[in-house]
């Protein structure tokens, strides 16, 4: 058996070398107008994907021919190396060919440049049965959503859910299955967001319920569910959903917005003391986080590699790091885009090793330059991604700190009004009671006994009574005097 596998490996290596030699000969001698397409094909067959991309791009720029075989090659290259490989091509080149793969990349590019109508037009070039159809409909729905074509967006999201489900069932690879499951969940979440935007909060809550707790997106949508409950006036449910973030399982997640929403919910229940406590707690918790992040960011902000190196460090070496920064790194690592880009980056590094072992030739030199360029660009790209996430977090912290300050001012102003009117709120601190909990038939009910249980997460609700009733201070005093007599 060992011999057999050795023979197979040897044969495969021999075949690869033969294909590269063939491509090299073509590169040196041929004047064929399809020369670059042919070399790209040969390099792809010999698994030099990142080198193949360079020749495929050159063929597209030359714009001489476009065959079905070449389209298949493009599709495979996008899958093996990511959309970023062709993202830098001029939109005129991307729109020139009847290629669904290029139309998909053009759609992504137009979306990122906020040309939503152009993105929708480009994405119409991706057929419903195409491999990129789930993502294309997801993107199209989002573009329609952002230009307020809500009906059309809903249709696109429905198609996305249907297509992603079909692809998920069809996929044999576990990773691919998981990927399509994530796309499907993303479309469901976007549908819920659409309902939220349309002020159909109850329907939005129902749509969010479709996301299983095992999904990696679930912790992120808790916040959106909490907002839906808030708009429905169910502040106890909002507080209950947000308390989930305090469970040890969610330790690596930081949502400054959750603190603001909790403070707002207490404010709406007129529990001003609790609101102010949260505001003060926010400053004491998030300030050290912000300082820790700032100390790293400001020192290394111009580095093109520091953040990527930091993220790739083994966990043991990260132990002396600020726990908050470590948790933030964990969050970044969990992002699908980041994982895919990181895999592609590692693939490019492997390819470079193999190219270095090839016999020196003009083609080998060109492949070396191309893959080195791709690695350098991807390093900067990944590093920028992590840096952007961290800057985003600092900005969020400061933005929400301003919102917290506003709540504090409003509470103080209301307290002053009470004093001027010689009134007070009905009680200093509202007590919880089951009577104050409202829930739908699909919502579960558990009592919180100081412990977080995995199956209960996200199902909590507070039982606080609204404290908004004002009573006359003088009357109250006189009543109590009468009582004593």
């Amino acid at each position: 058996m060992k011999y057999l596998s050795l023979i197979i490996t040897f044969l495969m290596l021999a075949e690869t070398h033969a294909l590269v030699r063939k491509a090299s000969e073509y590169y040196d001698k041929s004047n064929d107008r399809n020369k670059n397409a042919y070399i790209a094909q040969e390099l792809y067959k010999s698994r030099y994907y990142f080198s193949s991309v360079v020749f495929a791009k050159e063929h597209l720029i030359e714009g001489k021919t476009f065959s079905k075989e070449f389209e298949n090659l493009l599709e495979e290259l996008v899958l093996k190396t990511g959309t970023m490989s062709f993202y830098g091509l001029n939109p005129r080149v991307l729109s020139r060919y009847p290629s669904p793969s290029l139309k998909f990349i053009l759609g992504l590019r137009q979306f990122n440049y906020k040309n939503y109508e152009a993105a929708i037009k480009a994405l119409e070039g991706v057929p419903e049965e195409h491999r990129f159809a789930p993502e294309a409909f997801f993107m199209k729905g989002s573009a329609q959503n952002l230009i307020n074509q809500l009906g059309a967006a809903q249709k696109s999201y429905n198609t996305c859910i249907e297509k992603a489900d079909t692809f998920e069932n069809r996929a044999k690879n576990t990773k691919l299955k998981r990927y399509f499951a994530i796309v499907k969940e993303s479309c469901i979440i976007h549908k819920a967001r659409l309902l939220f935007k349309d002020r159909k909060y109850a329907a939005a809550l129902k749509a969010y319920e479709e996301i299983p707790k095992t999904s990696y997106r679930w912790p992120y949508i808790l916040m959106e569910k909490a907002w839906s409950a808030y708009h429905l006036g169910n502040y106890n449910r909002t507080l209950g959903i947000l308390v989930t973030y305090r469970s040890p399982l969610m330790k690596s997640y930081f949502f400054p917005e959750a603190e603001v929403l909790s403070a707002l919910s207490y404010f709406k229940l007129c529990l001003w003391g609790d609101s102010l406590n949260l505001v003060n707690q926010y400053y004491s918790v998030y300030r050290p986080h912000s300082d820790a992040l700032k100390s790293i960011l400001l020192k290394e902000k111009s580095s093109h590699t520091y953040f990527l190196k930091m993220l790739l460090k083994p966990i043991k070496e990260m132990e002396d790091m600020n726990p908050f920064v470590r948790n933030l790194m964990t969050q970044v690592r969990k992002r699908v885009k980041f994982s895919l880009d990181l895999v592609n980056f590692q693939k490019a590094q492997n390819e470079l090793k193999f190219i270095k072992k090839l016999k020196k030739s003009a083609l080998q030199q060109k492949m070396l330059e191309a893959v080195n360029g791709a690695i350098s660009w991807r390093t900067k790209h990944l590093n920028h991604y992590i840096k952007k996430q961290m800057f985003g977090f600092i900005n969020d912290m400061h933005r929400f700190s301003y919102e917290m300050f506003n709540i504090k001012l409003e509470v103080m102003s209301l307290k002053r009004d009470l004093v001027y009117d010689n009134q007070k709120l009905i009680s200093n601190r509202s007590r919880g009671s089951h009577e104050n909990i409202s829930r739908t038939s699909t919502e579960h009910f558990f009592e919180f006994n100081g412990e977080f249980w995995a199956d209960e997460l996200g199902e909590y609700s507070f039982g606080l009574k609204s404290n908004c009733k004002r009573v006359d201070k003088v009357k109250k005093v006189s009543q109590s005097k009468r009582g004593r007599r």
């Binding site: 990511g82 959309t83 992504l108 979306f111 990122n112 993502e135 997801f138 993107m139 989002s142 959503n145 952002l146 993303s186 979440i189 976007h190 967001r193 939220f196 935007k197 959106e224 907002w227 603001v260 707002l264 404010f267 992002r335 699908v336 885009k337 980041f338 895919l340 929400f400 919102e403 506003n406 709540i407 001012l409 409003e410 102003s413 009004d417």
Partner: protein, 84 residues
């Protein structure tokens, strides 16, 4: 008759052009004058209400615009940026 008219006309124009000698006019104002406003009488009908009254009303209280979420558009954008 014509010559008589001419003479009369000439005489009239010469008298109108002749300047009178300037008189030294001195205007004198009263150095002190007092008015007793309470003693002044005004005749007429009163058409305005006799006393001023202010209607009591609830003062308008302006509240600060607190943070509100109406959509998740930024998150929608980020999700697409995180695609593949």
């Amino acid at each position: 008759m014509r010559s008589l008219l001419l003479i009369l006309l000439l005489a009239a124009t010469t008298t109108s052009f002749a300047q009178k000698p300037k008189k030294n006019v001195i205007i004198k104002y009263k150095k002190y004058e007092s008015f007793d406003l309470g003693n002044l009488e005004i005749k007429g009908k009163i058409i305005a209400p006799g006393d001023l009254s202010v209607k009591e009303r609830q003062r308008k209280r302006f509240s600060r615009p607190l943070f509100e979420r109406d959509h998740f558009d930024p998150e929608v954008r980020t999700d697409i940026q995180n695609l593949r």
